[in-house]
Symmetry: C2
Subunit: 405 residues, 2 copies
């Protein structure tokens, strides 16, 4: 296998980005067979991939403080274990992961974000190299607006960007950015390929992920997830939100177990609560589709009421937290409606903004949330999935990272 083939490798520098995700409704209920609505949040992970001529592969991940560089010749002996006869739906095998850990010098217990990001890169790089028949020599830089480990799908956005860039760079799929365009999107069938590779990256990082995060990162918009089935919503509006990270650490595992305990202890009380949450997800889906078809301010009071009601129901199942109450109270004092998103017990919350919510109101809310010690971003949900960007179209903050290299 040639270390680098000018003929086969895309010569240009690629810029791609993928969004994070938030759960709009249905967190926790989804564990018990109910629907969840996951939406793309426009805090994005950006990847720059530039071809090299020296047979080296470098990866720089400033968010997790990783800077890696290998000779493609070092990586070459590993490729056989990632051979192209695997179907894309096959999960990474324990033997493959073991081999990568050994190569990278990680102990079995190493599960730090940095190590997992490295393993996912190596896995995708070697698998895609095996598939396309050569070892691309590239510089990769990945930088994200998403906080890590906050349940916002940062690992999936990373895997989606890696899959998109490597598959396009190796010409397994197209690179959709045409001359003069600022943003390009892949056709549906290529998104499916990106998604299936990104899922394998997620499997390296998380073991047994649901596939929701990579689907949202790839396709954007919103999707319904229920009983293992993922279904993209046909069309959804873009909604302004505040995303607040209370920075209160929590264990998703402990929270999920707590809900299960309550459900076992008080089934007659808790089952209907899950039924009610399920109905909220359905109602919200209906409203989002109606908004996409006919945008109107009249839908906002309904969305706000669903947010309030679900926040209380999530408190019923025991995943509320005083920090989340603070978010709700602080935003309510500005006429805004908030709920936790994801695991709860701290973590993140979303606050819906209306199209006509005044900047002064948003600023005041952000100030109050910051005064509580929370991190807060103004962003959108229903954002685009993976995109290819012209360098000119990238915002200054991203360009600074990419050029500062």
């Amino acid at each position: 296998m040639p270390a680098f083939s000018k003929e086969e490798m895309l010569a240009q520098t690629l810029f791609v980005s993928a969004p994070g995700k938030v759960i709009l409704h249905g967190e926790h209920a989804v564990v018990h067979g109910k629907a969840a609505l996951a939406v793309a949040v426009n805090l994005r992970t950006f990847l720059k991939m530039a071809p090299r001529n020296d047979g080296k592969v470098s990866v720089e991940l400033p968010n997790v403080g990783a800077r890696l560089c290998w000779e493609t010749s070092e990586l070459q002996p590993l490729v056989v274990a990632f051979s192209a006869d695997q179907t894309e739906s096959q999960p990474p095998s324990p033997e493959q992961i073991e081999k990568l850990k050994e190569f990278a010098g990680f102990t079995n217990r190493a599960a730090a974000t940095q190590s997992l990001a490295t393993l996912a890169f190596l896995y995708l790089y070697l698998s895609i190299a095996s598939k396309c028949g050569f070892m691309p020599s590239v510089d990769i830089l990945v930088w994200s607006e998403l906080p890590t480990g906050a349940g916002l799908g940062s690992s999936a956005a990373y895997s989606v960007c890696l899959a998109g860039a490597l598959l396009s760079g190796c010409r397994v799929i197209s690179y959709p950015l045409e001359e003069g365009q600022s943003v390009g999107r892949w056709p549906e069938e290529e998104l499916a390929v990106i998604n299936s590779w990104a899922f394998r990256g997620e499997q390296v990082i998380h073991g047994n992920p649901s596939g929701v995060d990579n689907a949202v990162g790839t396709r954007g918009g919103a999707l319904r997830y229920q009983a293992g089935k993922i279904c993209s919503l046909k069309s959804v509006p873009t909604l302004r939100i505040l995303l607040t990270n209370t920075l209160v650490p929590r264990s998703t595992k402990v929270l999920v177990a707590g809900v299960k305990d309550k459900l076992m202890k008080f089934p007659a009380i808790m089952e209907p609560v899950l039924t009610s949450i399920d109905a909220i997800s359905q109602e919200c889906e209906r409203v989002l589709e109606a908004m996409a078809a006919r945008p109107s301010l009249e839908h906002y009071p309904v969305l706000e009421e669903l947010i309030d009601v679900n926040q209380h129901l999530l408190s019923v199942v025991g995943v509320g937290h005083s920090s989340l109450d603070q978010v709700c109270q602080a935003t309510a004092s500005h006429g805004l409606h908030s709920k936790l998103t994801g695991a709860g017990g701290g973590g993140c919350a979303i606050t819906l903004l209306r199209p006509d919510t005044a900047p002064s109101v948003v600023e005041a809310a952000i100030r109050d949330l910051s005064d509580c010690g929370f991190e807060c971003w103004e962003t959108d949900i229903g954002a685009l999935g993976i995109c290819a960007h012209s360098p000119q179209s990238l915002k200054a903050e991203v360009l600074k990272v990419f050029n500062g290299k």
Copy 2:
């Protein structure tokens, strides 16, 4: 009919008291056919009735600032309209109420607490006089620990005391206080008579009451109310509580209508919430019966969890209020669990205390609640219903009111 008959009138001064009520679980859900648990709260209304020799009837109600006095001869012509051929289950007729208003000089629109209390007294006095065949000449003084108009059953406690005292004084039923006893209780069949008369007093005051408040005031303990049926719980423990009045005014009518609106707007979301609340009432009833049978501290965490869950569910149906959140937060900071009781949207809240909750904790909680501007009482639920008291057994505060006369 003689104005006063020494032979038939009980010669002694009577002291009776009746408790208020709080809804433990099921408020609002009860409007939609679910169960509610109402319990007697040991904030009591006290009545002193002393025979007079001058053919006068006087009523003093210091809580509402009323001081009334009539000649029985003035009242005599009214009696015919309250004749004894009525069964006790017949409600006061509009004509009867009209006659009483005219007599008392109230306009049609007069609905002030004072006027309603006067009308209820006149109604019960005349009806019982008609039944027993003479006009008792008595001094009546009623004083209550219960705030008026706070949904704590103060009007029912008043009607229960009046019915108990007048029926006993006129020897329609016994006076159960035996020589040397400090507290006496009526037998079940006489409680039924008191209750049915107290209900008519409530009808004068409220028009179309449920009958729950007078049943709790008469029988004490706890009862289940569902679809118009009232069922006393066989045995319930006495539980320590804090009762907090946020003093935030609210309209029960508006709150009930708001819940109905939500139910019509989002039936699939709200129906299960009512089902869940119903299951809480059932679970609580089960726990109370288990506690009565075998008192143990182990039941308290369950009662506390039911309180927390129901408080959140009541917020879901839209009857929460920031003042109630304050109560929950202030008491939670002392490890105590609270929920609204009654209509919500302000109004009152209950906080469960354990038998072993330290006085210092209770004092600190009361201090914090008072600092919020709330009124707060430490009391019990599951209290005794209507009682006859020896004067020696009355607490100093009550004696002071009765003797200060």
